[in-house]
Amino acid sequence: MPFPKRLIEPVFVTRGTLPEDLPLPSELEGVTNGTLANIVRQLSSLSRHAEDMFGELTRDAQQLYDRSNSLQARIDRLAVKVTQLDSTVEEVSLQDIHMRKAFKSATVFDQQVFSRATMPTAMLETYNSCDRPPPLDKLNCYRDDGKDGLKFYTDPNYFFELWRAEMLNDTERVMHDKGKNRGHRGGRGTTDGAQSGVRHKKRVRQPQNTRERQKQIAREHGEYIMPQQNPVYRAPHPVPQPHQEVDGYIPNQEQRPPRPNSIEIRRSYSREPEQMDGMHSPSLYQNNGQIINYDDQNMYHHGLYGQGPLSSESLYAGGTPTRSNKSRPSQPPPAPPSNQGTPTAGTPTRGRLASSGRDQLPPPPPPPEPTSPPPNGLPPHMIQHRMSESPHRSSSPDLHINSPPINHSFDLPPPPPIPTQQIVMQQKQSSPPKQLGVPAAPPPPPPPPMPTTNIHAPPAGPIINGDLIRALTSPPKLTPVKDRVLGKLGPPLVDPRNDLLKAIRDGIKLRKVEKNEQRQEVDRGMNGLHDVASILARRVAVEFSDSESGSDSECDSEGWGENETSA
């Protein structure tokens, strides 16, 4: 149906021009005069539309003029600046290079181009002349499904929702695919221990993978996943994290074997982080800085067990579950000290900053460990040496080993948003201090505005025994998860808050896993992704995930994973 933007009225010039009530001496003249009068009306209508049209054109042209003026000014400034450039002088000293501010585009992309606010006046008049939709929303109170009755009649957001869902699904799929590929390479967090190497290489992708996997798992077996991850900690850190020791852990251990190529070392890391996310996010964050040390120890242990590189290779090729189990026992010792050390050590803050899911891995590894000689009595430098050797064994390990320090440095900067989230989490954690057994969260920075709990923190029933209750009862845990989610969403943080509050309330009410999952999805959509730009940016970030985007995505993914797992 053609939809004229401007309608010149009256359309029928001659009709109804003959007055019926009073007789005319000459009807033909009457009709002619009436027709001429209508023509004058048409002309006035035409002039009005023309004025409106020219007004629009003038406005647009004025905008272009302003833009071109500012652009000209920028070009002039740039020209002056370029002439002042001196090739003999070093542009940026090596010292100052760190002070350089990263380029940040100030370009604002148009959004909601076809919204009611941008509707041209001519069309707005036509729109206003339309009948309002029947007040079907008044029947909402009689609906059991809680849907808006009016949306069955008309839903302006329908196509946007459709597009958004499609884009989000695409993004998820891409991330999932990438995760699979990576999983083949280095192994996944959940299934494979190889994550450590991968995460060092590309943080972003790994987290995404884990998160997606966790999501899927949570959907299929919401509760199973959690237990699998937990077992590792169990043995190593019985004392420090009593809550981790839950009924679900044992089943997890059984499930381990099926996991394909898993590097023992990485396995432990990946699992640990996941556990941490779901269970003890605070402790994990604190311990993030210590992760590297932990890895080193693991490597060291592996070397002891497997007689150097050969053993490690075998592990990489396809770690057998039994092996991993053996190695794990060796790892456990560090855990207990971690609790003590974390509070004192400054590393915890680092770990928070890093915020990547991988980093969060093992809360247990104590900061002092790196300095302190490993159990075997080997000095730390020995460990490092071992690590250096490891690269030969497998590509993935190489990255992990070589990069540890570098990674930390990288991790810290890339995820700026995360730190805040973590901070919030810390604060919250601090409030419920010792439930988790991570007593020493450093004093949290001022808590950011109440993070909304979109993610129904209240982990679904499947969650570890003690944790569920805690999560439900204690707000702090919930908040961390939410924070992570927000981080995942990234830019949209501001909007989601309102929803988060609501989600928190709802989440506390809803205990079923399914509902939680649904909510997560909804929250996800609601939180940040009402924004076209954010959706597209996220998609682009996923497709071209580099270190930076990866870091963000990691954090996000972790958060989601937690949510899902918890749910």
Binding site: L28, E29, T32, I39, L43, L57, S68, K81, R100
Partner: protein, 78 residues
């Protein structure tokens, strides 16, 4: 016969005059249509040209963004 003939003439005159008026009205309406056509085409061409201009401006702005970022030294911080 004169009366009826005279009446017939007046009617004929009226009809002729009406035809003249209709022609006049036709000319006016056609002119109005021409005006609207012109306005529509003018609006269309203006908008397309403005859009092209807008596009060029956007690319230019991005290029300038890039150049400014290239030229900018570490002065941004500190």
């Amino acid at each position: 016969m004169a009366a009826p003939s005279a009446r017939g003439e007046t009617i004929q005159k009226q009809i002729q005059q009406d035809w003249i008026n209709r022609e006049y009205i036709e000319i006016i309406t056609i002119s109005i249509k021409k005006i609207t056509d012109f306005l529509n085409s003018f609006d269309l061409s203006c908008r397309s040209k403005l859009a092209v201009l807008n596009e060029k401006l956007t690319t230019l702005e991005r290029k300038i963004d890039y150049l400014e970022a290239c030229v900018t030294k570490g002065e941004t911080l500190t």
